[in-house]
């Protein structure tokens, strides 16, 4: 009875108790499913986020399986004087990307003095170092090369002493999984679809039906025709044409660029840092002696990966929230939209900066998740508005009249009608995500394990590239970002115009 006294939303029809009951049941069903999808997304993503932060939070080191750690003991024998001791031991070898533990030990002469603190300064030539505190600290070397570890000890008599050791960080041969996780993820998702189709076909054949149903064939023909039409319209639109050409060029650069890169971007060459452009290094070398031109080629791939994946996450979340809020209506819609308003009110960049800062060190996956999880609210609002108008359409009413469940209506009628909007919007979001990544990187919240154009710009401006004659280090990555963003924006606008002609007539 409680369910009957609910404020009647517009999709409830006065057709007897049985119908209302069914309606309530199916709505609950829909809500449960939508909720479970949301919960699943939240659980999976928070798990991933937690994992990412655990793996990347170098200073805590809690929860990292011991198999991942390559323990290392730098035994410092620092005596209680104000002079440094001679070399504490041979240079230490550590592995890039895995957790190393530095153990400081100091002997305190009698007098009842105790050690107050241990301060570690770890730095790599040419870049800003990190400062860690504690007797035992852990840290992760981000790049191959030489690290200088400087340990300063302060005792209760205010005496300090310090010592230096050198850490040689070497590249660990990456396992297949680590290098290709993204490729495998995409590949898995792409392969799931044909596998599903094959399963269906096998079942059809075993039931004695023709391999390809005539309706499927018709549908396929129709969708091919539709795609051709969209493609034709896109290329006949001025913006769409320019955008498509640019986008194709960038996609080619992302696929083949890293293969053509003349140098390995993870190999340091500290003797050749800040070199002027020459035949060997077309755009010179950066603060670690890494070839800038190779980084440029490598950066295309990462920038596009970050843009596309974070936009996909944002769109998926936004669509689920928008569909739910718009279709269910009532107070639940109100609550969801108030929450959405809250997220929308905080400037996106500010929200991203604070989340990134709270997470500490971030990697590629981390930055994708940060951008994706803070950027869904605009899509949600837009999808909801669209759903509100579709919900009132006759075909939805008709589907409901023949007894389709809410889940079916959403899946078969509401979602397909919002899809063009979502699709065009996702492409526009990619552009914003690329800009966001560049900005975050510039503000020193950069992915530790990847080369992106934003990161190049940030190092370039930190090394005042113009003053040392490496002007192309600042100008070219910036221009490429502009063009990449433009490519996605133009294609997005053009698609929006083609797919949603009624929404935006210009």
């Amino acid at each position: 009875m409680e369910s009957l006294s609910r404020p009647a939303s517009c999709c409830e029809r006065p057709s007897g108790r049985a119908a209302t009951k069914r309606l309530v049941r199916t709505r609950c069903d829909l809500e449960m499913r939508a909720l479970s999808v949301l919960v699943a997304i939240v659980i999976v993503s928070s798990g991933a986020l937690a994992l990412a932060s655990l793996v990347s939070d170098s200073s805590s080191g809690v929860g990292v399986p011991s198999a991942l750690q390559s323990r290392l003991a730098v035994a410092f024998a620092v005596s209680q004087t104000n002079e440094s001791v001679a070399n504490a031991g041979p240079d230490q070898n550590i592995t890039v990307g895995s957790l190393a533990t530095l153990n400081g030990s100091a002997s305190v002469p009698s007098q009842g003095a105790t050690i107050v603190n241990y301060t570690w300064k770890l730095s790599q030539t040419g870049s800003l170092g990190v400062t860690l505190y504690g007797e035992h600290v852990t840290f992760v070397a981000r790049k191959a090369g030489l690290y200088v570890a400087n340990l300063t000890i302060l005792d209760s008599n205010n005496h300090t002493s310090w010592d230096i050791t050198l850490l040689v960080a070497r590249e660990r041969p990456e396992t297949f999984l680590q290098h290709y996780w993204l490729v495998m993820l995409i590949g898995g998702l792409v392969a799931a679809y044909p596998a599903f189709e094959v399963l269906k076909a096998v079942r059809r054949v075993s039931e004695g039906l023709p391999l390809i149903a005539p309706t499927t064939r018709e549908k396929f023909k129709l969708s091919v025709k539709k795609l051709r039409e969209i493609n034709r319209k896109l290329l006949s639109n001025r913006m769409g044409l320019v955008g498509s050409i640019l986008l194709t060029a960038f996609l080619l650069m992302a696929i083949f660029g890293p293969l053509l890169a003349p140098y390995d971007v993870t190999k340091f060459n500290l003797i050749h840092k800040f070199e002027k452009p020459s035949n060997a290094h077309w755009m010179g070398t950066d603060q670690d002696g890494v070839d800038i031109f190779s980084q440029l080629l490598e950066g295309a791939r990462t920038s596009i990966i970050i843009g596309i994946f974070s936009a996909l996450i944002a769109s998926l979340l936004g669509t689920v929230v928008g569909l739910y809020a718009g279709y269910v209506g009532g107070w639940k819609d109100e609550v969801v939209m108030r929450l959405n308003d809250v997220v929308l009110s905080i400037p996106w960049l500010v929200l991203m900066i604070v989340v990134a800062a709270l997470l500490g060190t971030i990697d590629l996956l981390g930055i994708i998740l940060i951008i994706g999880f803070t950027g869904w609210s605009m899509t949600a609002r837009m999808v909801r508005a669209q759903v509100l108008s579709i919900r009132e359409k006759e075909f939805v009413e008709r589907a409901r009249a023949i007894g389709a469940s809410d889940m079916t209506i959403v899946r078969r009628h509401v979602f397909p009608n919002t899809f063009p909007l979502v699709f065009a919007n996702t492409i526009l979001t990619v552009a914003i995500a690329i800009l966001s990544e560049a900005t975050l990187s510039y503000l020193r919240l950069r992915p530790a394990d990847a080369v992106t154009w934003g990161k190049m710009l940030s190092y370039a401006s930190e090394s005042s590239a113009f003053q040392i004659g490496l002007w192309s280090w600042i100008v070219i990555p910036g221009l490429l970002i502009v063009l990449l963003v433009l490519a996605f924006t133009m294609v997005g606008y053009a698609l929006d115009e083609i797919l949603n002609p009624k929404l935006r007539k210009r």
Partner: protein
């Protein structure tokens, strides 16, 4: 009757504003307290030189040993009473720091927003008026180009351009940046005298120009679109048919109908402009909210960080509210 519906509309909006602000504060609180890791680890610097008594003071102040709801209550209470704690790095009250920086950021954002609106609407309206012409094509592609540009990069390039003499052109203007005004010449004590105000204006040129150029595209493109939309309506045809000139049609019929979506958009755009102001402030070392935030992040100064999100959110909420009120005034359809 109109008065009552007007009042109820404003009242409803005000309730929404209050709810959203409370929501922002709760979200901000949860962000800091539910992040992986112990919040006290993040709230206090890891530097052992950090004064331990200050730490206990903070634990006491934010009730970090109590349950989460109690902490939330304390946090909201403290926020409203202006008791925002003390910065780790400067040891000054956070409230004072933020309010001081806020004035300068508001100056920066305000001036550049006015500039953006004038420029954007002008360009958009003229493009719509001459649509398809060379001005339209040129303006659209140039604004699109700036739309895709990271604001910080534009800032770097402009800074380099106006602090050097490109191609050895000696007449090339040089513009100062870094700080609010020329403190070396006028002293760090801010007095509102004419030379200081002029100096403030001079130091403001580069940041505002960058911010305005970076955000003009959003406004001019939408202005153009909404005007062209309005131009295809029947009443425009009628107006043309009765013999009005193109300019009269634009001024009297298209502009008033193109305005409401523009106002809503400008209000929404404030969030974007604040994000831009962050970048501009960092590049030009203009010590406003954005610069302070980035410093707080690099120094792990969490008391400041805790309120930056709230300030940004509240600014956007207020801007949207004002936009709604303006819409009410401009668009008679809402009142009905």
């Amino acid at each position: 009757m109109a008065g009552r519906s007007f009042r109820s509309y404003v009242g409803k909006r005000l309730v929404n504003v209050a709810l959203t602000i409370i929501g922002i504060m709760i979200l901000n609180f949860l962000l800091i307290h539910l992040m992986p890791g112990d919040p006290s680890n993040q709230l206090f610097p890891r530097d052992p030189k950090f004064d331990q008594s200050l730490k206990w003071q903070l634990v006491e102040k934010f009730r970090l040993n109590d349950s989460l709801p109690t902490q939330l209550g304390t946090y909201i209470y403290n926020t409203f009473t202006g008791d925002w704690g003390t910065s780790y790095t400067t040891r000054r009250p956070v409230f004072d720091i933020i309010m001081n920086d806020l004035r300068w950021t508001m100056l920066l954002v305000g001036v550049s927003t006015v500039l953006t609106i004038i420029l954007g609407m002008g360009i958009g309206a003229y493009s719509a008026y001459r649509r398809g012409g060379p001005f339209d094509a040129g303006a659209t592609s140039i604004t699109l180009f700036f739309y895709g540009m990271p604001i910080f990069w534009l800032a770097i390039v402009l800074q380099l351009l106006f602090t050097t003499h490109p191609l050895a052109m000696h007449w090339w203007p040089q513009l100062p940046s870094g700080g609010y005004y020329d403190t070396e010449r006028y002293g760090s004590q801010l007095r509102l005298t004419v030379p200081i105000i002029l100096s403030i204006g001079k130091y403001l040129i580069l940041p505002t120009l960058t911010l305005a150029i970076g955000s003009v595209a959003g406004i001019s493109l939408i202005m153009r679109g909404s005007l062209i939309d309005a131009m295809t309506e029947d009443y425009i045809v009628t107006a043309r048919a009765k013999g009005l000139t193109d300019y009269q049609v634009l001024r009297r019929h298209a502009l008033p109908n193109g305005m409401p979506p523009m106002i809503a958009l400008i209000a929404m755009d404030i969030a974007f402009v604040i994000g831009g102001a962050y970048q501009v402030e960092v590049v030009f070392t203009y010590p406003g909210i954005g610069y302070e935030t980035m410093n707080a992040i690099w120094n792990l100064d969490f008391p400041i960080l805790q309120f930056v999100v709230v300030i940004g959110g509240v600014a956007v909420v207020i801007a949207n509210f004002l936009g709604d009120m303006l819409l009410l005034y401009v668009d008679p359809r809402i009142k009905a």
